[in-house]
């Protein structure tokens, strides 16, 4: 079973509100990923880190999305001004390297009302 911890499990925000979710990767895993899974089971890669450095990221949706993985603190993904289209399951995942299996957390389900 995965040891990637995501909080909160559920998040409800009004349009325009800030939404922040956190992730503690599996111990010893320096590579961390964020994916968005929509209701049609489509996955969108958002960003990943190795230690605290960004490896790759999409054009973070008009800059509303930001993420970080500070040393000795949980990683986080924040949406500055939530929109209805942001409603989705946000999955954090971690791995030992960029060429090994990836383990996912249970996700944070964001609902924007």
């Amino acid at each position: 079973n995965s040891k990637v911890i995501q909080t909160p499990r559920y998040l409800v925000k009004g349009q325009g509100q800030k939404a922040k979710m956190r992730c503690i990767p599996e111990k010893g895993h320096p590579v961390v990923f964020w994916y968005q899974q929509n209701k049609n089971n489509e996955f969108k890669f958002l960003i990943n880190f190795q230690n605290q450095e960004v490896l790759q990221q999409i054009d973070m949706t008009e800059k509303r999305f930001s993420a970080e993985c500070p040393s000795n603190s949980p990683c986080s993904l924040e949406i500055q001004s939530s929109e209805a289209g942001d409603s989705a399951l946000y999955l954090c995942a971690s791995s030992l390297t960029t060429n090994t299996e990836v383990f996912f957390g249970k996700g944070t389900r964001l609902t924007v009302v």
């Binding site: 995965s2 089971n41 890669f45 790759q56 999955l91 960029t98 299996e101 990836v102």
Partner: protein
């Protein structure tokens, strides 16, 4: 560009029967391949992985998958399903030439096990 296709959106199977879920990929070389399962209101759980070598790989809960380079496929199988196998199954590909470890997912197959 790489892609993963799972041609069966939904599969219904009787408890105790065998199950095969199809996965086809498009990639210029031999990728790393994975099967994940997602239970309701859960994240993704890794079932098995293929990197190289023996094309038949064993996973958790008696699942196995067979890689075929000639067919660009990585089909998942289970000899005898249990009601608890009802879930959504995703096939995923990792770019072996990249530096990010990013996964490309198929559309998923919803499996329903009936008694």
């Amino acid at each position: 560009a790489q892609s993963v296709t799972q041609p069966d959106a939904r599969v219904t199977v009787s408890e105790g029967a065998s199950l095969q879920l199809r996965c086809k990929y498009s990639y210029s070389a031999t990728p790393y391949l994975f099967w994940y399962v997602q239970y309701p209101r859960q994240g993704l759980q890794l079932l098995l992985k293929y990197y190289s070598g023996d094309p038949v790989v064993q996973g958790v809960n008696s699942f196995e998958a067979e890689f075929s380079k000639s067919n660009s496929s990585f089909h998942l199988q289970k000899a005898s399903v249990h009601w608890s196998d009802s879930a959504v199954y995703f096939c995923a590909l990792m770019n072996t030439g990249g530096l990010s470890g990013k996964l490309t997912f198929g559309e998923g197959t919803q499996v329903t096990v009936i008694s």
